[in-house]
């Protein structure tokens, strides 16, 4: 029988911790959430020598065990709670050979918890380049640990690491320094009051105010013969502790590490001179953004057209080979177009995450934070808000979660509130199909008009986000300390494996997460469009035949009239007509109305909804786009999707808050329904007004 052990991967951000995780688990991993909170939980299984198996958790990156965010809290809560089912049998601390000094701080803290610990020194391939040499034996002895010198990039040392994990029982649990000397009297007192507890654990509980087991700060304070300290004194002690640890690390590295500056090369300085330059830096950032948008639009159009037409033929084929009936109709007119509406997004979502993960992996994203901080601050945001605003172009949900590293609550809240304005990937299909219908083809200096329109919509999204941030900054009366510390990691060539896994993981979670909603709504819509109450629906054939009896229509034309009469009097038709007065001034008909209403569950439903509505009652094998182009405005005549109504729709989708999942995340992150409700009402109200003005001016 194979035994399974728990392994926790811990480390500073930018040490290649996730690369180590990927190297150990391969595709044998899953991403979920910690119960009750939205912190991402990555875990996987790794086969070890001698039939042992390891359950590996990739803990959120942290600089120390002094948590200042929800993500970092997860790390200490797991390490303090021996009863947690994930409590590690062995902790693997991942460090970067170029930042060993800083990375070791966290390592010494974990050692104090007396958990068997392995030190991984990653990026060993950079040692020669940087002129670094290490005395591993000496370091192992001083740090009371085993060291695995690895390079995930060159795939070196992974087997040695697995070997060390397998022999975890031989690891020392002795701390490598005695931190309690910073205030002997205080710690003696603490030890006397709680003789059965680990001293460093108690210290963490006191300074962090976290719970573990049944002990929290209050129970410690409540012990009568124990003298507590003020917040200020505690902070001073924490500083002393940090200095103490660094002294130990400096002494250790003085002997254990030599850096030959003569042979060291530094590409960082050269790159930073350009990439963070006052002029070139911004220009390059602009060009990168432009490239991304052009790529999303141009490069993904080929697979998208292919997917669109494939699903159209599949639907047609299903109808031709299966016996006529309710089930065939559900399959051909509900499920298949609904699935098509999901699959069609895959190329763009994959491209977007490809670019975002390359920017993150290469270290460039921190430079953007640096460049943008001053500008963003003018609008009440932080340089760190740029990351959520850029990831918001993929999806607002991870973007809002990415605001957690913004230190100031006010800057963070504003970022959360305005992020949904950025053009998320769910808006993309709506934009793409409408742009294709109403914006002429043609090129302007090599850039297509359609791509430029898309770029403009992205800019409008950013503009709305930044503008509303400026207003919120004036209105919100929140006093909070603003701290801003950003690590500027070294530039790295993104590793293909990491990028590929991110793209795969994100695309998969979109397809299965959003896909479920889209499919469910497609089926409900099909039902509502295929059935209706009363005479008008159930006797449609007789009514229409009689109505057109004198007009000598061909059978096809007559059938089409019957189908559209049916649709108009189906449940969905009735609902659509009911809301029509409200949306008529915006240039929409009742069918678009249905699509908009169902979009409030999730925007990406729009295209799928129209696909379902239009395919009910159409016999021809046609793509969604062609069907939409053929729609006629019942009152004004002419195509329903013309320039005026198209622009109006684009603007409506640009501003409206139409995503239930985002509202749920905002509620969770702000811990109140107040903020998501404001978002819903204000954003959607604004969208309505802008769309109204646009249509009335342009028509």
């Amino acid at each position: 029988m194979s035994k399974q052990i728990n392994v926790a991967l811990i480390g500073n951000p930018n040490t290649g911790k996730t690369s180590v995780f990927n190297a150990l688990t391969g595709l044998n991993q899953k991403v979920g959430n910690y119960p009750g909170i939205t912190v991402e939980k990555k875990e996987g299984i790794c086969k070890l020598p001698r039939g042992l198996k390891a359950h590996i958790i990739d803990l959120p990156g942290t600089y120390s065990l002094n948590a200042s965010s929800l993500d970092e809290n997860v790390v200490i809560e797991l390490l303090l709670n021996k009863n947690d089912k994930d409590f590690p049998d062995v902790a693997v601390v991942v460090s970067d050979v170029e930042n060993l000094k800083r990375n070791l701080l966290l390592f010494t803290q974990i050692k104090d918890l007396e958990i068997p610990t392995i030190l991984v020194i990653n990026m060993s391939d950079r040692m020669a380049y940087k002129g670094i040499s290490l005395d591993i034996e000496y370091l192992e002895q001083q740090l009371e640990t085993k060291i695995a010198l690895i390079s995930t990039r060159k795939n070196n040392g992974i087997n040695e690491l697995k070997e060390l994990i397998t022999n975890y029982k031989e690891l020392s649990t002795t701390p490598c320094l005695n931190a309690s000397t910073i205030d002997e009297a205080y710690f003696d007192n603490l030890r006397k009051a709680f003789p059965n507890q680990l001293l460093y654990k108690l210290w963490l509980v006191i300074t962090q105010d976290v719970n573990f087991g049944k002990t929290d700060r209050k129970t410690i304070d409540a012990v009568s013969d124990f003298k507590t300290k003020s917040e200020r004194d505690l902070k001073r002690l924490q500083q002393k502790e940090t200095i103490k640890r660094y002294q130990f690390i400096n002494d250790t590295l003085k002997k254990g590490q030599t850096i030959d500056l003569k042979t060291a090369k530094d590409l960082r300085i050269k790159l930073d001179r350009i990439l963070t330059h006052k002029v070139w830096g911004y220009l390059i950032f602009g060009v990168i953004l432009l490239t991304i948008f052009q790529a999303i639009y141009d490069w993904s159009s080929v697979p998208m057209d292919f997917i669109d037409s494939t699903f159209a033929s599949l639907s047609e084929w299903t109808k031709s080979v299966m016996p006529e009936g309710a089930f065939t109709s559900l399959l051909a007119e509900g499920i298949i177009p609904g699935l098509g509406g999901i699959v069609i997004f895959i190329p763009q979502i994959a491209f977007l995450f490809l670019f975002i993960s390359i920017l993150e992996e290469s270290g460039y994203m921190s430079r953007v934070v640096f460049l943008m901080d001053r500008i963003m601050r003018r609008f009440g945001l932080s340089g760190k808000s740029v990351v959520p605003l850029i990831s918001g172009t993929a999806c607002a949900i991870p973007a809002i979660m990415a605001t957690r590293n913004i230190e100031s609550w006010k800057e963070r809240l504003i970022t959360i509130l305005v992020t949904p304005f950025t053009t998320c990937s769910a808006r993309l299909p709506v934009y793409l199909i409408i742009i294709a219908l109403v914006i002429p083809e043609g090129r302007f200096y090599g850039l297509s008009y359609q791509a430029l329109t898309l770029m403009l919509l992205y800019l409008i999204g950013f503009g709305a986000a930044v503008g509303s941030a400026w207003i919120l900054n004036k209105i919100l009366k929140i006093k909070s300390k603003t701290f801003f510390v950003v690590e500027m990691p070294n530039y790295k060539l993104p590793m293909f494996k990491n990028v590929a896994i991110t793209v795969l993981e994100k695309t998969k979670s979109f397809v299965f997460g959003a896909g479920k909603i889209i499919l469910a709504i497609s089926i409900v819509l099909w039902f509502l469009a295929s059935y209706g109450p009363g005479e008008n629906f159930n006797n449609a054939e007789a009514i229409v035949t009689e109505q057109y009896a004198t007009e000598n229509l061909s059978e096809d034309e007559l059938n089409q009239k019957i189908e559209s009469h049916k649709l108009e009097h189906s449940f969905i038709g009735i609902a659509g007509h009911a809301i029509e007065p409200a949306i008529r001034p915006l240039g929409y008909d009742w069918k678009i109305g249905i699509a908009i209403v169902s979009s409030f569950a999730a925007r990406e439903v729009f295209v799928g909804t129209l696909a379902t509505i239009y395919s009910v009652g159409s016999d021809e094998e046609e793509t969604i786009k062609n069907r939409m182009a053929g729609e006629v405005n019942p009152i004004l005549g002419g195509p329903l999707f013309n320039f005026a109504s198209g622009i109006s729709l684009l603007l409506f989708y640009a501003f409206a808050m139409q995503c239930m999942s985002t509202l749920a995340i905002v509620k969770r992150e702000t811990n109140s329904w107040k903020w998501p409700m404001y978002q819903l009402v204000i954003m959607s109200g604004f969208a309505y007004i802008v769309a109204l003005i646009a249509f009335q001016v342009l028509k």
Binding site: K101, R102, I243, K278, F483, F484, V485, V486, E487
Partner: protein
């Protein structure tokens, strides 16, 4: 003088930090008395500042930098 007075490319030694005005995280990243500091790059209006503190590369705002006392090293 404080860290905020440093010119691009200049180096200094940290003398004192006002620990109650500085986030613990910054201390943990090496911003402690005795450590060396170099101003690598500044954004427009000299804010934020891109520093190399004791081998750690990081960016902080000017409002934080004024709470860190330093002494310059002349080369």
């Amino acid at each position: 003088m404080t860290l905020a007075d440093l010119k691009r490319g200049q180096q200094g030694i940290i003398k004192d930090v006002s620990s109650n005005l500085i986030p613990l995280k910054l201390l943990e990243m090496g911003c402690l008395p005795g450590n060396s500091v170099e101003l690598v790059q500044v954004a427009p209006f000299a804010d934020p500042m891109y520093l190399n503190i004791n081998g750690s590369h990081l960016a902080i705002r000017k409002e934080t930098a004024i709470h860190i006392l330093i002494e310059t090293i002349d080369e």
